[in-house]
């Protein structure tokens, strides 16, 4: 019975999702249903952070293995799950104030918040799973929910295209991952990561390992890289992001990344010796490619969602530097980086989701932001601060994220990787600056009288203000911030 305490949050979420589905069916014609579910979601996820906190406090050992060693709970997992909870409640807050998440009559689609809840269960399962089966189940649960979320706006061509692309390519990646898992099972006799790691620790060089086993792990990694939109498996991201509504984008560009990074860390941090070096090399190559693709391809993007996609690719590249090092400090650095990235990304989405032209047309292109500082100086200032943060300029939060990662890289003598990292960060700074230029240096486009929706909720404004203030003042309490995540 004690085991079930640890998965209480997942159980609560599952029950909640089912109850809300029934609730929604019975009140289908009421526009308020969706709003209510969004609201409940927000509260529930904040409450879950507290529940996780209690579980973590009550845990007797540092690392608790449950259900035949297929599920794990630790302080680090508490941190990761709390980050996801906070991110998902932020997404729900953003959605509360934005009625256009799935085209016309979005408010009637009560499944939307339910799907977000379901995807989050999948993310939680992945974060905790130590078994390939568990990882796969969690991945599929979250992915399937996200395919539907992306395609939700079915009257929109772009959304349908994005949904189809996401589903087909996502299924392909899942297939690759599953094939890798089956090879691992076939050649090691176990689906448990702990067993696999034990097996690999026995061998001196990679040549001693069975090629099929190595291939299995590589395929598994490829599937993960795909889901994390790392180059060269990034092609889906810009298209899918472009087709998604801003709310869906706020979700898929943040929370799921935590799960995949957690799984990658689980693998790589337990490898040792020669095997570790080989896999580090794979991740290093992927990191370099992602940094290059993310920063250079971002230069020519005109669509803000595509830009966010490329920015995400580059940022995941930086994150991979910390992941591949996989010692205790580097993992802490990775968690700090991921947290700051998610917070900044959510702030960006929170602001972008309230921008529209004259309360009617959606703002898709970067050029739509022209003159924002003249119409809404506060939103413009907030967005500018977040963009400077993404560019890694002190004193913003993004600087600290880059600082901790490069600190680990230099410490591990990864000089080439560091130099590529900082140079691409300068290249990427160009596209962040371009948005600032449009907001501050350019004039308002003719015919545009309003760029921010009239009906922005106070809670939404509060969220934006909180994120911007956090980004701006992190340097004052970076000490306690990093201690909290460590």
């Amino acid at each position: 019975m004690a085991n079930y305490i640890y998965i209480l949050p997942e159980i609560i979420l599952a029950v909640f999702a089912l109850v809300m589905t029934v609730f929604g069916v019975f009140r289908q014609n009421c526009n308020k249903t969706t709003q209510v579910i969004f609201g409940l979601n927000t509260i529930l996820f904040v409450a879950l952070i507290y529940i996780f906190f209690l579980i973590d406090k009550g845990a007797k050992t540092n690392l608790t293995f449950l259900f035949d060693d297929s599920f794990v709970f630790s302080h680090q997992i508490f941190i990761l799950k709390s980050i996801v909870c906070a991110a998902v409640s932020a997404v729900n807050i953003i959605a509360l104030g934005n009625s256009n998440f799935a085209g016309e009559n979005s408010r009637k689609i009560f499944e939307f918040p339910v799907l977000i809840t379901l995807a989050t269960i999948g993310i939680f399962i992945m974060i905790s799973a130590v078994d390939l089966m568990g990882i796969y189940l969690g991945l599929e649960l979250s992915s399937l929910a996200m395919y539907v979320l992306v395609a939700m706006n079915r009257d929109n061509e772009k959304a349908t295209e994005a949904g189809t692309k996401y589903f087909i390519l996502g299924a392909l990646a899942s297939g690759i991952l599953l094939y890798g898992a089956s090879l691992i099972y076939g050649f090691s006799g176990s689906t448990n990561i702990a067993d696999l790691v034990y097996l690999l620790s026995k061998i001196e060089t990679i040549k001693e390992a069975s090629p099929a086993l190595v291939l299995g792990i590589v395929l598994l990694f490829c599937g993960m890289f795909f889901k994390l939109s790392l180059a060269p498996m990034h092609f889906w991201a810009p298209d899918v992001y472009q087709g998604s509504s801003k709310i869906v984008l706020a979700f898929i560009s943040t929370a799921p990344k935590v799960a995949i990074v957690a799984v990658l860390i689980r693998f790589i941090s337990h490898f040792s010796g020669e095997v570790e070096k080989q896999f580090e090399m794979i991740i290093a190559i992927v990191a370099v490619l992602s940094m290059l693709v993310g920063s250079f391809a971002g230069l020519v993007q005109e669509n803000i969602k595509r830009l966010i996609a490329y920015s995400g690719i580059a940022n995941m590249g930086y994150l991979m530097i910390a992941v591949l090092l996989s010692d205790k400090e580097s993992i802490d650095a990775a968690v700090i980086y991921l947290t700051i990235y998610i917070i900044t990304g959510l702030g960006l989405m929170a602001i972008i989701s309230v921008l529209n032209k004259n309360n009617s047309e959606d703002t898709e292109n970067i050029s739509d932001f022209a003159g924002l500082s003249k119409l809404n100086p506060y939103y413009a200032a907030g967005l500018a601060i977040l963009l400077f943060s993404l560019a890694g300029i002190p004193p913003m939060a993004g600087f600290w994220a880059k600082f901790v990662v490069f600190k680990q890289a230099i410490n591990a003598k990864l000089y080439v990787l560091s130099v590529i990292g900082v140079v691409t960060s300068v290249v990427a700074a160009y596209y962040y600056l371009r948005i600032i230029k449009l907001m501050y240096f350019d004039d308002i486009k003719p015919g545009v009288t309003k760029l921010v929706a009239d009906d922005v909720l106070n809670i939404n404004k509060l969220l934006i203000a909180a994120i911007v203030i956090f980004t701006l003042t992190l340097f004052l309490y970076f000490d306690s911030f990093s201690a909290m995540l460590g």
Partner: protein, 492 residues
């Protein structure tokens, strides 16, 4: 004045406080109030800096008024401040120029006044922060963050090509700085601290090979900032496009950050590599002096000409710093201060003409002396100071630098000295074409002489340029002890 008062923190945060005050208590309708608050804030900051100067003990070479608090405990990074002879006058220069910038913008900036004032005060905070930080990461923090306000100042209030200039400025400087960040992190991983004083003691022990790589990383950042040939191309663009006050602060203070970095960081921390690369710096400085002076000769735009002359003058500074002797480094620092006053004043003079004629082309002017005698006098003083006429501050800096280099390398000294001749050529040409001659352009007839704001900005600078030309020991005596301490590691 009690010593326990955190006067340096006060100095850093006074402008920031003023900026926050403006943000909270003014709105778009009463922008006049923003100007007044900004001016008072900058004047108060100047007074605080004078108090720092008064407390400063010139006979003591080590850091004074030190403040040290834990900042990032886990990483043992400190909030560590202090002043010595090298930084004290640069701080005074900054706090002096900011009120002048605000006065110079009083009537010329007409839109978004509130944001403009906030950015200038923010810039002041960051620049003072660079000069007083004794922690390398804190230094980098201020050094890099100062890009943001300058970027926006050029981008919003600049000329027609402002976007290009602001991007070039930002990306060039950022590109240089990121290598500095890597170098800082490397030093940190080696010695477990980012404290400058500790690193000054420990870092010279590094092998020459490591020092060389770190030196190049430092150089990437500082050389772009100075700017040294061939990294100077952002400067003419930034200057031409920036509003007058933007040019003043850019030439007056921001360029000094790079030279200050060489002096405070490159030389004491990496002495062997500094000696190794001294010839490279000499060569680049010589090329810069001759090449940019020649380029300045043919400019048709006044601001561009003065921008190129800035590059030439800053080359004396770099050459002087890397001659590693007392006179040359003293001269370099003196030249930094003198250039800070003189080039700032020259940009103000160009601004005076631009306000009236809305052009910076030299051939549109001529005979200005007939209608603006006071202006002509001021312009004369600063032209002469820029040329390096004895009894102006420009002479002292150039003379000491040349003297110092002569001791080290006679050929280099002779080549650098050609810049004096060329400098005289283009500055006198500029002065002749603008101020003397017949009035060719009828618009010049209607020009009015200096108004009270302009007098308030130009007169004090003229006074200083002459005062420090006549009595240079006022500065050189104060800076000498700290410089000899900095040079200790090289001469050993």
């Amino acid at each position: 004045m009690s010593v326990n008062l955190p006067i340096l923190s006060l100095l850093i945060f006074a402008p920031l406080l003023g900026a926050v005050f403006i943000l909270l208590f003014t709105n778009e309708k009463c922008e006049e109030k923003a100007k007044i608050i900004a001016l008072w804030t900058s004047v108060i900051t100047f007074i605080i800096s004078l108090l720092v100067w008064k407390n400063f003990d010139a006979t003591n070479a080590s850091m004074q008024m030190v403040e040290k608090f834990e900042w990032v405990r886990e990483a043992s990074i400190f909030y560590h401040l202090g002043v010595d002879g090298v930084s004290i006058y640069l701080i005074l220069l900054t706090t002096l120029l900011i009120p002048i910038c605000i006065l110079a913008s009083w009537n010329s900036i007409k839109e978004k006044i509130k944001l403009y004032m906030v950015l200038f005060l923010l810039l002041e905070t960051l620049v003072i922060g660079v000069f007083v930080s004794l922690d390398f990461l804190l230094f980098y923090f201020f050094f890099e963050a100062s890009l943001i306000p300058m970027f926006i100042i050029i981008g919003i209030w600049g000329g027609d090509n402002r976007v290009y200039a602001s991007f070039k400025f930002f990306l060039y400087t950022l590109f240089g700085s990121v290598f500095l960040l890597l170098a800082i992190i490397y030093l940190y991983t080696q010695f477990g601290t980012t404290d400058m004083l500790a690193l000054t003691e420990k870092a010279p022990e590094l092998s020459l090979k490591t020092q060389k790589i770190l030196w190049i990383a430092f150089f990437a950042s500082f050389a772009v900032k100075v700017p040294m040939f061939p990294f100077h191309t952002w400067l003419p663009d930034a200057h031409v496009q920036a509003p007058t006050a933007g040019s003043v602060i850019l030439a007056g203070v921001l360029l000094k950050l790079g030279a200050y970095g060489f002096l405070r960081l490159s030389i004491p921390m990496l002495p062997d590599a500094s000696v190794y690369f001294a010839n490279l710096v000499y060569i680049l400085s010589i090329i810069a002096v001759i090449y940019t002076s020649l380029v300045a000769l043919v400019q048709e735009d006044m601001k561009k000409m003065i921008a190129y002359s800035s590059v030439a003058h800053m080359s004396y500074v770099t050459a002087g710093i890397f001659a590693f002797n007392m006179q040359s480094v003293q001269g370099a620092l003196f030249q930094m201060l003198s250039h800070g006053i003189v080039s700032a004043a020259l940009f103000l003079c160009v601004g005076v003409l631009y306000e009236r004629m809305h052009t910076k082309r030299i051939d549109k002017f001529g005979g200005v002396v007939k209608v603006m005698p006071r202006f002509a006098l001021m312009f004369m003083v600063f032209t002469m100071a820029s040329v390096g006429l004895p009894a102006t501050s420009g002479f002292v800096g150039e003379f000491l630098v040349l003297l110092g280099i002569f001791k080290d390398n006679k050929i280099v000294s002779a080549l650098v000295a050609t810049g004096v001749v060329l400098g005289a050529a283009y500055m006198l040409l500029l002065y002749k074409n603008v101020v003397y001659g017949e009035i060719k352009n009828p618009e010049v007839n209607h020009l009015k002489d200096l108004d009270r704001y302009e007098k308030l900005t130009l007169y004090p600078l003229a006074l200083l340029a002459i005062l420090y030309g006549v009595l240079p020991y006022l500065i050189t005596n104060d800076i000498a002890p700290s410089i000899s301490l900095l040079l200790n590691s090289v001469t050993k």
